[in-house]
Symmetry: D2
Subunit: 349 residues, 4 copies
């Protein structure tokens, strides 16, 4: 089989370089173009010396003909960009994997409220497939437009899903206390993201309301089997790390359930999932244990044997939380082995 031709739109950010890093080891995909207006003409290996010897590509200005000649186009752009460019690509038969937030939310009013702008193509949003393979694998196979989940939503949903599918916890007072490495905030030069502002310090941010909240509530609402609406209190924090998301999730057990039963539930739910690892009871997964990989590691606890269940869920925000999950989706969409290009163990230490 000839290689799948892929392009990356907006490749100067961290999800762009992460796509390139992972695709360098993917035998079935060839990156034919990577666009950036600001860096057009610059070799990718100049901006990212880690790629010297791996790519001869230069960033190029976006060109619809070039993109339309690909089998698949990744959007690694800020929100608002993909929705303007995707319709034409879709209409010309190109499959699109969007890593931005443009097509994650089905309710357009909600999207417009949280992202503060008019949505450019609500009709496509309705057709977009939400790319969380652990829930939507069947639909992903045929997706024309794939909306890759956000980083926090991936870690948090994978931690709550077994409990909500089984109706074991009350959906109305979920708590997700999560922390992300600084790469999650992007590669833009901003004072609050400086090394000197964040090293040896820690803080919450957007505790009053983060854009990933409606995405998570939508996803959890879709799998919840019991009565009541899903309502989540979500407080993100900024870690002095480059990568990694650690979610500490709290739910109130609707009925008495032993920790052994909880463990068994999680193990069964994810038994066939190549990228969800349910660790032994009592484990404390570290973010470094998934660094650079598509893996989500999960542990479930029931402290003091009371009625609160605690789930610890870790991913790499740039990998399972973005670019590696995008490749997992590509593998599913194109009928490849699901873990192609995603087999390397995490970099530890």
């Amino acid at each position: 089989m000839s290689a799948i031709k892929a392009a990356i739109v907006g490749g100067t950010g961290y999800t762009g370089v992460e796509l390139l890093r992972l695709l360098a080891g993917h035998p079935g995909v060839e990156v034919t173009a990577i666009t950036s207006r600001a860096e057009a003409g610059t070799p990718v290996s100049e901006l990212f010396p880690s790629l010297r010897g791996h790519y001869d590509l230069k960033f190029c200005a976006p060109d619809i003909e070039q993109l339309a000649a690909c089998d698949v186009v990744f959007f690694a752009t800020p929100h608002g960009v993909a929705q303007a460019q995707v319709p034409e690509l879709i209409s010309r038969g190109v499959r699109v994997i969007d890593l931005s937030a443009d097509f994650r939310i089905k309710d357009i009013a909600t999207w417009e409220q949280w992202y503060g702008q008019k949505h450019a193509c609500p009709e496509l949003a309705a057709d977009a497939v939400y790319g969380l393979p652990e829930v939507n694998r069947a639909q992903i196979v045929d997706a024309q437009l794939l909306a890759c989940p956000g980083c926090y939503p991936t870690a948090i949903q994978l931690g709550f899903i077994p409990l909500l599918e089984a109706g074991l916890i009350s959906p109305e007072n979920l708590i997700a206390n999560a922390a992300s490495g600084a790469s999650g905030a992007g590669r833009q030069g901003k004072t609050e993201l400086l090394f000197a502002e964040n090293n040896d310090s820690f803080r919450a941010y957007a505790a009053g309301g983060h854009r990933h909240l409606p995405e998570i509530e939508q996803g959890l609402g879709g799998v919840h089997t019991g009565s009541g609406d899903v309502r989540l209190t979500f407080v993100p924090h900024l870690l002095p790390t480059v990568r990694g998301i650690h979610a500490t999730l709290y739910g109130t057990l609707a009925q008495d359930t032993s920790v052994e039963a909880l463990q068994a539930l999680f193990e069964k739910r994810y038994r066939d999932e190549p990228f969800v690892d349910v660790m032994p009871a009592g484990s404390h997964p570290q973010t470094r244990s998934v660094r650079g990989t598509n893996m989500c590691r999960i542990a479930v606890l029931k402290p003091q044997d009371r009625n609160t269940v605690v789930v610890l869920s870790v991913i790499d925000n740039l990998a399972k939380g973005a670019s590696a999950q995008a490749i997992q989706n590509l593998n599913i969409m194109f009928g490849l082995n699901e873990n192609q290009g995603l087999e390397s163990p995490a970099l530890l230490p």
Copy 2:
């Protein structure tokens, strides 16, 4: 007034060097001895070069006569040590400030269960005063034996106290998601505390049960005015920072309360407290904003205007969480200005 003579037992750890650092700038206290069996004879400035030029002291083997000649003795030792040595000091009229966990818990059975050993002097534990000035200032004045609160318990109690005193939240499903810098785990060489094990990574630990849990529940139980027992789910995490505790607290409002009313409640409760700073609504306190100081900074939020209240509380684990709070207690015990030796702003950046 002549200076208060103070000794430090077990001074080679981080709370020891922090006491020395802070007392170097305290005009009313003179450190006359600092003990360490292992380092007896070593100048403190050799172990801690930051103190070169500030102290001529050498570590010395513990000598009861030398300690008994002091006005106050700090114990900066692992648990189990103070309870063996304190009785004689107390009987000889020396006041003791214990930074360890030996006298924090009133229920001896609970102490013995969590610390895994027999308590050596339960009768003294009953008399010990729990040194959280924001709750116990009056009793601290006359304390002979002062039990300094733990680091997590300080940050967490200060965040929950106004809500529980006012009976505004249900006491039975409190959640404290907290994170500490690595200095909180001490200066012992352990693989899991190595730089190479923790940098650029993050994890929970002791999620199944941390020794600070009973201390916090005891303290919160003491201030709670409503019905029901205090039950806390407490999940600590290890930050890749040297100092700092960040507690993210969640409570369920027992009745509808506006965020403005919550803010006013906190501001009123701590209006006269020199070391609790209620930040403006919507703030996200950073651990670095209290680095090296006795300050606790707090923000209160009510995300999405739902019925969950979120409190963010930060301290420096070695300062307000240990040695600076010990000095605050000393100032109260000896009738000094409460903020003597504790006035310097935090080191930022």
Copy 3:
């Protein structure tokens, strides 16, 4: 004596907040104004929460009358700003302490070459006193315009001075391999200074030529007693730390000199200096041992007893490398105790 009235021009950067932090504990100085066009009207404690409770000041737009009413004005501005504003202040009798590079270099052509612009007042540059107290204390006393040394130049000069004054090393092949924390690069949002770009990584920068080179060569040339010109190879590096400069200096011994003689030379040279600490032979000073202080710690070595002498010199770039040294200079200029406001030990750990 009434307090010295001081203003800070350009106070939103790291040297500005460091001046405020240190002056909060200085009994003889009152900060009456701090200027920033961009942040005019913002309370300093809003931008820097570490200062909450310490200052009621707001940033204000620069106003010459307000500045002229002060005893001393600090310039904590990028180069090019002070030279435009200082002449009028000087003419009105205000003393100026400039933390920028505007008046450090005596040779105006050299300044213009390295800083890439025309100098606005060469005549003042000639009168400016270079504020390295260990060399220029006598002149500092009467300085009207004080040029505070750069951070690298402070650490590097203090390390080489004893050797060059004594004519012990060849001046023509000096090597300064130095590393700085990220705060040295300022508080501007730039991609290359992001946390995600620098954590867990290390690199040299400006190895082809750094602006501090001519300043260092000028200073060392001034103290060198032997024949030959001072020529320095200076390679700076960017550390994944917030603060700290570590200089590793290499010189070729012009004549055989024992390590004991070298140690004695350094100890004698700095015996009366309150802020230079010559550590025991064989020491390896850590940057954290001077964190937040005006101290420079130095160790001298002679590896393998060959003819290369190695000097290790550490300072805090924002303190002895900028704001604390500025206060040391103020103390000297105004006849105060030289270490007022500068007595606190370093924050360790």
Copy 4:
């Protein structure tokens, strides 16, 4: 061809887990055993959760029969261990790749002086091949006992080799100012390696004499073509990073040579080397650009066009500085493609 059977002796350290990480992606090698007395019976994935799903191996006690049944045995042990066990393996025809220092130094008296113990098999040391492929590739092919270079020696030799081979610099006053991430010091719990001791700080260590010095001088002496002995001043530093070595090398040009000629020299020398990347003139290689890879990136500079040449050389201490270079050597020894298992780009950011 059937897979090469490999065992790892002493696999609980960082070079052990790094071998496992890299070999997980090597199609030609099967790890059949990994030994550790202390952890015998523990699954490797329990100690290193990053390997969950990649290995079913448990650590086992060393068993000579099991080791003798392998094609190759890696020693990832402290010095002194391999020399006791290697002779029997060699005599039974097993090829050995030793990552420790036991067989790097040809002069046994020098080895014994620096390592402070008697060498157990000097005769084998004479036969051992020093595994720096860029110098010794031909001998490596047939090596029975391969001594893997140290981490500092790899980075420093690769930077100096072109200059010394060409006789362009004086060999007698070489300077290597180098810095290593904390993983280079191993996984033993030691106070001085704690996170709280090293984060946000930086220091030199072993400046008076580091064990890698004689190894480097031996290697450089072997390639130097001019007159005079190689004498190096080598000052190592401890970085607050997990991985990475950055060497900043200084040499005095023996004759005037343009920076263009220097650049051309390096490019020509390493043109055919798969794992040495000569970057464009003026580059500043970052340690993260080689994180997790076998690559050495080098830049050459001639500051101020004076007679000092500066070479910047970065590697990953655990990869090209240890385990990846070991695999490169294995590939050469067993006639495999030299970059098998070593193709992945660095993890950046």
